[in-house]
Amino acid sequence: MKSNKYEILTNRQIALIILSTIVGYGILILPKNAVENAGTAAWVAVALATIYAALVTYMFTYLGYMHPNMTMPDYSQKLVGKFFTFVFVLIYVLQHFVLFILLVKNTGQHISQTVLVKTPTPVIIFVFILVAFYAVSKNLRVVALVCEFYGVTITIGLVIICILLFSQGNINNMRPFLGTYDIKTYFKASLTLSIPFLGMETLFAVPIDKKNGKKVFKYTTIAILFIGFLYILIVESCISVRGTDMIIHYKDALIEVVRSVDVVQLEFLRRLDGLFIIIWIMAVFTTVIMYFYSTVFLLSKCFTKISYKAIAIAIMIIASFCASFIPLDPPDIEKALNYTSYFSTVTIVLIPLILIIFTRVKKHEKK
């Protein structure tokens, strides 16, 4: 495998990569999933899910921190040998590639159903992938810069939209804050929120340097907690505007809620959907480029003889064809996303745990 000379990112960039990768497609389905399973106490379920996500992210950061200036394929080879590393990397490549295609396809369908009704979906998908390819072809630092810039824009935009939604909402819709179910239900509900919290596994393609120091833990944890806060804002603002009875009927509850308010005081910006769709596409775009980058990077680690750019071009072409011409309807994509999220127990819990155990054992041996 290639020697490891990586571009080093700052802590802030790593935190914003996590934030912008996780926040994406999931915010559309989040309110429905949370409310359907936990009623008005949806925020409890989101908070619990945030805690799981923070723990998982801690594991990824720990692995990066313990093996400075290395990515997963590098240290995994040291820990578990070439064969298992190859298997692990292939699993991640497969998952990231599938997620990448599903997200692009889904976003394309959404855009063509809502904004660009007559534009053929393959065209939207191709343009999307082409732009993502341009960012990915410039390697990690550019991807990180895009995430940095977009991450901040997405956060500010979403917070503003949520505040505007709250201004049109009614606090009675949000009560009773603690719901009517017992704590078991909330734990169960929090497990159904895995899709909106997927994305930290792309950290395996991001090296952490010694320079980052211990502070990197603080940054990544804060990033996840902030995502949790943002998600709670989104869920609660949706509930405050439309109430739980209505939200459970909409698969894309957030868009429906944004379209159902009219902030008269904003004059020409009174309809928020234009603003929201821009921010949402930006959010999905950062998720997509991170999965794209991760797929290409991990593959380039497996096939050292082929250049990074060549792999990027190949993936772009394959992805464009797959996303455009595999006949997947929205329900199929939903199913596929659910299966991928079940599968992600392997990629975000099992494999990192194995690697951590091996790291601890090796460390112990050295002593």
């Binding site: 159903q113 809502t114 904004v115 660009l116 009704v117 007559k118 534009t119 053929p120 065209v123 939207i124 009675n172 819709n173 009560r175 009773p176 719901g179 009517t180 505007v241 439309r242 109430g243 009875d245 209505m246 009927h249 429906e256 379209r259 159902s260 308010v261 009219d262 309809r271």
Partner: protein, 384 residues
Amino acid sequence: MKRSRNVLTRIIKTVLLLFALLLSTGCWDYQDINRRTISVAFGVDKVDGNYEYSTEVAKLTSDQGQAQGNIQIPRGYFILSGGKNLEMAKIDYSYKIPLEDFTGGVRIALFGENFAREGIEAYVNRLDNIYGYRKTTAMAVSRETPRDLLQTRVKSDISTGFYIYDMIISLSDIGHTLYRNLGDVLKYIATKEVGFLLPYIGKEGDDIVYLGLAVIKNSKLVDILEGDDAKGVLYLLAEKKPLFSEAIPTEGNKNLLSFRVYARKKKIKTEYKDNRVIINLDITLNADLGYEYYFNPITKEDVKNFEIAISDRVENMIKNSILKSQKDYECDIFQFARHFQIQHPKIFEKIEWINEYPKAQINVSVNTKITSLGFLDPNAKSKF
């Protein structure tokens, strides 16, 4: 040499980028506003067993002689279509318009009385699933068929749909009606336990007028609330502070005093005792003296009497409208269910609200405070 080539590639790139930006606006979806049929209001009714759509379409090219720089939407033109069911009526509509339909501009949806009595749920669900319709589309019930109403020529010569919409918005701003949009109606229908109210409008002479509130139970029109009954409801429900003028007589009916009354606080507390729902409504009113019919001194005692008189009057209005909802409609049009659900979520799951509400004990207590007697001093001593 190399440098000049670099400059050249840069120029080519810039030009290509500019062209790409200019030519790809809206991709396949670019369509000029003149090439669309923009509907601003529509109504649906059932006439002789057929569904009837009446649509007002915005006219973008103004008539000759119309004042330039007119900021309000000019009168549109009217299209009538119909069919045995909603789908056929819609197809008939699309056969009658010259350009592609654009529904994002619809301000108000009217339901004819016949149609509303049959039930609006199916139609509301239909609107919910048509992407173009905004959830903020206002909804109202009309006494005359929408065909008559939308063809009424408004005196100020603006679009009839806009006129009705503006009327509802401005009246709801001062608490005289309730503005309910598609999103609200969907929410009420999703909460199966409650009924709701829509503005009720009609035509008197050549004018379009607001008449009262239409009571909708199980998404069917059951009655119209007018006058004091509607007032009682509005004191309870209007989100903006409802403001009414109440003329209160003095002792012996010698004088009348007009007060502006508005609800400052509404407290709703619920209980469940002996298998019965108890709802306690605590309403605090503020009243300002508008004017006296005849200028007379007002003592402190008078003020207290007026406070009691106003409280009694409003209390009666509210009690009557609640009684009507319990006995006549057997339907919770005030959405008390939500308050009960918040305060006693576990009991709410066990009981059938639809059966409990008509039997519920609802206590109303209204307290009034006269905050101002205005700037005129009725107690001035006129010695000279």
